[in-house]
């Protein structure tokens, strides 16, 4: 594993009886990434995170975290990892601070000022001595983030960290994630349903469905790949036939008197030249930027159409 890779899975597979929850999953998270992990419910995201954290044993494949194989050297691998796996859970009969002290002791111990620091970061200083049983869902979520930050992690794994937070809290968590990556050089692995959130904070993403990797790469590249060009010509049907014969052009759809061409924005001049040379009168060529949400639903649609064995989509090209 290259030094640049903080988290790497190879051929990761997990069955629950006949159900294949994760299927030969290859992931690469580089140092400094804010890596979004996307997929619908039941796609295998939480199972993957549980395998990374050693809560679930994989049937096949391997996981390396910070250069350590998690099966053989789990203790070393987890020393600099902080995580929230699904909803954070704490000892309800202990205070927030006492919970952090316990979890810190389990990671080799941290000085009391470190606990003060993380409580400050998540805005729980004034409630730190209250028992967790009186905490709101949002406060537990914040305490979850605090415990993930305790060991001074190099990698933070966050599974739906904004669930249950109010809009202000969600924004604060997003800012915290950005801060972690930018200032503290922490790599963040973020599993989320909120595509908008992922698009805002992540530089790279992986999309999975039915346990399989559909796409992975830079957010900008993926979005660019999912972009379209709107073309208005005098004879849309004939132009569509011409464009469909080009191997550098993706899907071509006739939409009334216009065409929707699956092509990158940089391809506009070439597209124009091709149409003009073929005698078409082009009156409009407009690049339409896709959102991550468009790309996500496009991938979901494709993955549900294709056969399981041909389910792989190659890595997005930057």
């Amino acid at each position: 594993m290259s030094n640049d890779l903080v988290l790497c899975t190879r051929g990761l597979t997990k069955h629950f009886g006949k159900l294949r929850a994760v299927d030969h999953l290859d992931l690469e998270v580089r140092r400094g990434d804010v890596f979004g992990f996307l997929g619908p419910n039941g796609a295998g995201k939480s199972t993957t995170i549980r395998m990374i954290m050693g809560l679930i044993r994989s049937n096949e494949g391997q996981i390396e975290v910070l250069g350590h194989n998690t099966r053989r050297q789990r203790e070393a691998a987890m020393r600099k990892v902080g995580a929230i796996v699904e909803e954070p859970a704490f000892y309800r009969f202990l205070s927030g601070r006492r919970n952090l002290e316990i979890l810190s002791a389990m990671s080799g111990g941290a000085p009391p000022q470190r606990i003060d620091e993380v409580l400050e970061v998540v805005g729980l200083t004034s409630r730190a001595r209250d028992k967790v049983k009186v905490y709101s869902h949002g406060m537990k979520q914040r305490l979850g983030i605090a415990q993930a930050l305790l060991p001074g992690p190099e990698l933070v794994i966050l599974d739906e960290p904004t669930t249950g937070l109010d809009p202000q809290g969600m924004r604060e968590v997003r800012e915290l994630i950005r801060d972690l990556a930018a200032r503290a050089q922490v790599t963040v692995f973020l599993s989320s349903h909120l595509l908008n959130e992922v698009e805002q904070v992540c530089n790279r993403v992986a999309v999975i469905n039915q346990g399989r990797l559909l796409a992975t790469g830079d957010v900008t590249s993926l979005v660019r790949q999912g972009s379209n060009v709107r073309v208005v010509t005098s004879e849309p049907e004939r132009a569509a036939l011409l464009l469909q014969r080009q191997d550098w052009i993706g899907q071509v759809q006739v939409d009334g008197d216009a065409l929707r061409v699956s092509a990158k924005p940089e391809a506009v001049p070439e597209l124009n030249a091709l149409l003009v040379q073929a005698g078409h009168r082009v009156s409009e060529l407009t690049p339409i930027r896709a959102s991550l949400e468009d790309v996500f639903f496009q991938l979901m649609g494709e993955s549900n159409d294709v056969k399981p064995d041909s389910n792989r989509i190659p890595e997005a090209q930057p």
Binding site: R50, A89, Y91, M106, S107
Partner: protein
């Protein structure tokens, strides 16, 4: 490891149910003490003893009364041990804290070893309580005279030896109750609801107790190999003479039971998928 064990004790000390057993035992001892103070019990051994001996003073001492009380309290202790130990892993699974702690660096084996240490401490503390408190309380009522041992013969042992024998009985009791704790831990790693292992451990204990007392063919043969049979042999250490062969057999049998239960618990827990 020490740090993990300390954390387990901290968790136990913050749960009311950990103290439920000792609270009930304290109440029971207080009632007994009041009863004994108001109406001192007669000579143990019944009518035959009274017919054959002329007693001057009382044969009762804190040692003898403690030994008698231990017999009663051991039975009472068992459900509390089942309750406390059954909760150790399954309780964490039920509250979802298991996944929080297992995401931390320590291995599952270390985590479970800390739980075993906690179970051992929990059991030991209860036994010490069951011996220590009566010794102190009944010391005030009956004093610390020599201890009478009533069996086929009557023996009288000095207070030093009596204390030593009670301590030995206590250690044997802890060793025996560790089987119960190990069985509780085994069931606790199997399920994700705390009440299941508590009831399961007590049910297994009760079933084996019944099997061990049925004097029929095969059941009679297996009876000495049941931990329930051996658990109550702690009283051999306060009999005269001490049948060391039988005591040793008891210690070995109980050790095997604990070893098998703990080995199974470690094996299952190390391979278990934590999905809660």
């Amino acid at each position: 490891m020490l740090s993990l064990t300390r954390i387990e004790y901290l968790k136990l000390s913050h749960k009311l149910r950990s103290f439920l057993g000792s609270m009930i035992i304290t109440a029971l001892l207080a009632l007994m003490a009041i009863g004994f103070a108001l109406h001192p019990p007669g000579m143990p051994g019944g009518v035959a003893m009274q017919a054959g001996f002329v007693m001057v003073g009382s044969p009762l001492s804190a040692f003898l009364v403690t030994r008698m009380v231990m017999e009663v309290l051991l039975v009472l202790l068992i459900p509390f041990i089942c309750l406390g130990v059954g909760d150790l892993v399954a309780g964490e699974a039920e509250d979802h804290t298991l996944r929080t702690v297992l995401c931390r660096p320590p291995s599952r084996a270390r985590f479970l070893a800390a739980k075993v240490a906690a179970a051992f401490g929990f059991t030991g503390a209860h036994v010490i309580f069951v011996i220590g408190v009566p010794l102190v309380v009944f010391g005030f009522i009956f004093g610390y005279g020599p201890m009478f041992i009533f069996g086929q013969k009557v023996a009288i042992i000095g207070r030093g030896e009596a204390l030593l024998r009670l301590l030995g009985s206590g250690l044997y009791m802890i060793w025996g109750l560790m089987v119960l704790a190990s069985l509780g831990l085994l069931l606790s790693v199997l399920v994700e609801k705390a009440i299941g292992p508590a009831i399961g451990t007590f049910a297994i204990f009760s079933a084996l107790m019944i099997i061990g007392t049925i004097p029929l063919g095969f059941l009679k043969t297996i009876s000495p190999y049941l931990f329930t049979t051996q658990l109550f042999k702690w009283s051999l250490l306060v009999s005269e003479p001490i049948p060391w062969g039988e005591v040793t057999r008891g210690i070995v049998t109980l050790g095997v039971w604990s070893g098998v239960c703990l080995a199974a618990a470690f094996l299952i827990f190390s391979r278990k998928d934590i999905t809660c």
